[in-house]
Amino acid sequence: MENSVFTISNLNLHYGTFQALNNINIDIEKNKVTALIGPSGCGKSTFLRCLNRMNDLIDKCKISGNVLYHSEDVYQKNYDVISLRTKVGMVFQKPNPFPMTIFDNVAYGPRCQGLKNKNQLYKIVESSLKKAALWEEVKDRLKESAMGLSGGQQQRLCIARAIAMEPEVILMDEPTSALDPIATLKIEELINDLKKNYAIVIVTHSMQQAARISDNTAFFLSGELIEYNQTDVVFTAPKESKTEDYITGRFG
C-alpha cells in the first residue's frame, strides 16, 4: 500500500512450541491510528512488539515472515535495531517514567544519542512536552522528579519521551488502562492530535476506545488476524462472524 509505513507478510511467531502469531498479513498506514483488539492471549501485544523488535529479548522466540519498515525487513541480519527503536517508539500500559527529573526523562533519548547542547535539549524537551499536551502543567517544575506526577501526567510524559526521539511510528500497549476517565480522555485527544505527524498503533481492550480514536481496526483471535478494516466498518458491519461475536460480547 502506498501510504504504508509497515508491511507485514506471512508473519509467524513461536514461543518455544507455542505458536503465538499465525501467518499475519497487514499494512500499517502513516497518519492513521490502527487499533489492535482481541481477547487476552490473542497475540495483539506480541504483534505490536514485533514492529520494533521488542520480542528479541524473549527466550525461545522464533519469528518467520517479513516485517517491512519502509520496504526494509527489520528482521534481516545486521539491521540497526537501535535506529529502528528511535523511529518506532513505544508507550506501555503502566506509565514508566525514569526516576529522574521531568526534564531529564524527556532529554534522556537525545542525550543517549550524544546531544549535549543545553539550548537544543531544552528546545526538544519543550516541544516534546507541548506535543504531548503536558507542557502547561509542568513547565514550572521541570527540575522536579517525574515520580511526583499523576498517572495520566506520567503517561503523557512517556509519550513526550518517545516523541523527543522524533519517531515516525508510536506503538501503544493499552496506554490508558491504568488511567482514570479524565486522563484517558486527555490521552485520546492527544492521540488524535499526534496522528497528524505519526502513525500510531494501539492495543486496547476497550471497544469504545478503538471505535473513538482509530481509523483502522485489526481483530486478532488465537494468534490469527481475523479481520482488518476501517474502524467504522468493523464496528457497524463487520465482515467476519467471529469479529461480530467478539465485539458484541457474545463470544466463546
Partner: protein
C-alpha cells in the same frame, strides 16, 4: 460462550414493543377505512383519539433505545438493530397519522354524501396491512427475503391506486359520483398508497439491520 442475558432480554423487549406498536397501527388503518366506507364518524373519532397511543409508543420506544445505547454501548448488529428500530418507529408513527387522516376525512364528509364504493380500496388496505405485517415479521425473524417481498408488493398497492384513479375519473365523467366524495376517496387512496411507501421504508431498514448497508 459469554452471554449478555440482560442486553438480549432488552432487545427482545424492544422488538416486542415494536410489534405492539405495529399491531395497533394495522388495527387503526383497518378501522379507519371501515369508518370511511361506512361513514361512521364515531368510529373515526375513536381512531383519531387512539393515534395518541401510537405517538406514545413512539416516544416510549425511542426512550428505550436511548437507554439501551447508554447502558450497553451496542456495536455491529446490535447497533444496527437499535438504529433500525429508531427509524422504523418514525415510519410506523407516520402510518398511524395516515390512519387518523383517513378518519378525519370520514368526519369531514357529510352524512348525505352518496358513497361510491370501489372494491380496489379494500384490496389496497388489505395489501398495505399485509405489507406492514410482513415488514415486522421480517424484522423479528431477521429474514431478508420477506423484507424484499414487501418492497416488491408496493407495486401492487401502486397499481390499485392507479386503478382507483381511473375508476373515479370515469365515474366523474359519467356523473355517477358525488364531487366531494370523489375528492375524499382519492385522498384516502393516496394515504393508503403512502402507507405502502412507509411499509417499504420499514422493510429497507430491516435489510439494513441484517446486512449492514442500504439497498441501492
Amino acid at each position: 460462550m459469554t452471554n449478555r442475558t440482560q442486553f438480549d432480554y432488552e432487545l427482545e423487549e424492544l422488538k416486542l414493543s415494536l410489534i405492539k406498536m405495529g399491531d395497533l397501527v394495522i388495527k387503526n388503518i383497518h378501522l379507519s377505512l371501515k369508518s370511511f366506507i361506512e361513514m361512521n364518524s364515531d368510529l373515526a373519532n375513536k381512531i383519531i383519539k387512539d393515534d395518541k397511543i401510537v405517538n406514545q409508543f413512539e416516544y416510549d420506544i425511542e426512550k428505550d433505545c436511548m437507554r439501551i445505547i447508554l447502558k450497553e454501548q451496542p456495536v455491529a448488529r446490535d447497533l444496527r438493530l437499535i438504529t433500525s428500530v429508531l427509524k422504523m418507529i418514525t415510519d410506523l408513527e407516520r402510518i398511524g397519522d395516515h390512519a387518523a387522516d383517513i378518519s378525519k376525512l370520514t368526519v369531514f364528509m357529510e352524512k348525505n354524501n352518496k358513497p361510491y364504493l370501489v372494491p380496489q380500496v379494500n384490496k389496497m388496505v388489505d395489501e398495505s396491512e399485509k405489507m406492514i405485517k410482513m415488514a415486522l415479521e421480517s424484522f423479528v425473524n431477521q429474514d431478508q427475503n420477506i423484507a424484499l417481498k414487501v418492497i416488491d408488493n408496493d407495486d401492487i398497492v401502486d397499481d390499485y391506486f392507479t386503478e382507483i384513479q381511473h375508476l373515479v375519473a370515469e365515474a366523474i365523467r359519467q356523473d355517477n359520483i358525488d364531487a366531494d366524495y370523489a375528492i375524499y376517496l382519492m385522498m384516502a387512496a393516496k394515504y393508503l398508497e403512502r402507507i405502502g411507501d412507509h411499509a417499504v421504508n420499514i422493510a429497507e431498514w430491516v435489510i439494513f439491520s441484517i446486512v449492514g448497508h442500504h439497498r441501492n
